[in-house]
């Protein structure tokens, strides 16, 4: 990474694994789990959050010397809400079906704690470029978990990826279905999202003992 100094690339890479917003910081779970039954919705959600966090962190960082600290929460909410309205309108215009699937969860990006958390913890005290990198890094860390959960839930639940059947045809019994494999419809129900995230945390913490809670 010639473009970024070592400190800057740490800002992007840290949230991807050892300081992941979902599995370590426990932020932003609210709007994350309900939409992960399909990979496509997960990806769109990840991109929306990437946009809101990147731009939002830059805006807050620009305003950081002007915002009176007493009303900073309202200012932050207004910035996020404006960005989310943009995302919502763009989705409604270009991906109407998908915006129906995501329903209120696009609006709930506003209250995604990850965004407010990064505004509070980072953008209010750091310069433009570093805040931008921090926003992108955390949104990527969030997106990675979302996409992993979406991948497994769609693959095991309906045997498709991005709507394309990859395991053969369940009715004509081709592919793995010929071997007696059945789709596990349970994966599509909401409780399984929680359990999949729990398993991801398990794997991550077994690999890195430093993260284990006592």
């Amino acid at each position: 990474m010639g473009l970024l100094s070592k400190k800057d690339s740490k800002l992007i890479l840290d949230p991807l694994a050892d300081n992941n917003p979902i599995t370590i910081q426990v932020l932003g779970i609210c709007s994350a789990l309900a939409i992960t039954a399909e990979l496509k919705a997960s990806i769109v959600m990840a991109i929306s959050v990437l946009f809101v966090m990147g731009v939002g962190n830059v805006v807050i960082s620009m305003l950081r010397n002007v915002i009176p600290s007493k009303i900073r929460i309202i200012v932050q909410l207004v910035v996020v809400a404006t960005l989310v309205i943009i995302v919502d309108l763009v989705l409604k215009a270009y991906a109407y079906e998908l915006s129906k699937t995501l329903s209120v969860f696009v609006g709930l990006i506003i209250t995604n704690c990850i965004i407010m958390g990064r505004f509070e913890a980072f953008a209010l005290g750091n310069g433009l470029w570093r805040s931008f990198l921090d926003g992108i890094g955390n949104a990527l860390g969030y997106g990675v978990i979302l996409i992993i959960v979406g991948f497994f839930r769609e693959l095991l639940g309906s045997g498709t990826l991005l709507g394309i059947p990859v395991l053969g045809d369940p009715i004509e019994k081709t592919g793995v279905y010929a071997l007696g494999y059945e789709n596990n419809g349970f994966m599509l129900l909401s409780p399984m999202a929680l359990i999949v995230v729990g398993l991801i945390i398990w794997v991550q913490r077994s690999r890195n003992k430093a993260l284990i809670e006592d």
Partner: protein, 239 residues
């Protein structure tokens, strides 16, 4: 009847935590002790009970398509619904500020124990989610909106109370080290959500529902078995 139906539906079937994952952040962060969980749960019921009817009025008389007709016929064609996110969140942030002031004044102990989480209610997805679901489910009257707010708050309260009680007990069990804390909490919440799915047949009735209920009951029994083993482990350890 309408009210009773909505009441039970929002508590059990559309439970905010188990069916729609709203308010998970504070649900996971504040559920280590039963006493703080009760405080936050009560705050959520209170804030939801105020903000949902308020936002219902906003939605009905300002934001919806044609809602401005009461100003005069020339306003009847306006559709301001794209502003609803920003209007809802502004109402919520104001109300939360108010609750914070009231709690600080009347119950300093609760204020101290909730610490930084009271301002976080403003960004609690459960609160905004309540208003957004109220809008998308087209709740019909102010009374029903109030009912919806309070009963989904109660649902959230029950969820956080249950998980806090389980987490207090599970501290004595030997959970695999990497699963301790967050990991096991996620999995328990998942199991509880499966349990709550069995309430799905409550309001439908009829033959179709019976078949569905059977499968749900089996899952529930499995979950109960699991809870029982956890309880047994705890008992052994204490002895």
């Amino acid at each position: 009847m309408e009210h009773v139906e909505l009441f039970f539906k929002s508590i059990f079937i559309d439970n905010m935590v188990f069916a729609t994952f709203l308010g998970m952040c504070s649900y996971l962060a504040v559920s280590k002790k039963v006493s703080t969980a009760i405080g936050l749960g009560a705050a959520v019921i209170f804030v939801l009970g105020i903000t949902v009817p308020l936002n219902w009025l906003l939605d009905q008389y300002i934001l919806q398509e044609g809602a401005l007709a009461w100003l005069g016929p020339e306003f009847a064609s306006y559709d301001l619904s794209f502003l609803s996110f920003i209007m809802f969140i502004a109402t919520i942030a104001t109300m939360v500020q108010l609750v914070e002031i009231v709690v600080e004044k009347f119950s300093p102990a609760l204020y101290n124990s909730l610490g930084i989480f009271l301002p976080l209610i403003a960004v609690n997805c459960a609160i905004l989610g309540g208003s957004l679901f109220m809008q998308s489910r087209e709740i019909a009257s102010l009374g029903l909106a109030f009912n919806y707010g309070v009963s989904s708050g109660i649902g959230w309260f029950l969820a956080i109370l249950a998980i806090a009680a389980i987490r207090e007990k599970i501290r004595y069990s030997s959970v695999p080290a990497p699963l301790r804390g967050l990991g096991i909490t996620f999995i328990i919440t998942g199991l509880m959500a499966i349990g709550f799915m069995s309430f799905g047949g409550m309001l439908t009735g009829g033959d179709d529902a019976v078949a569905k209920e059977d499968s749900a009951v089996e899952v529930k029994i499995e979950e109960e078995k699991e809870n029982k083993t956890i309880a047994d482990n705890t008992a052994q350890l204490i002895q």
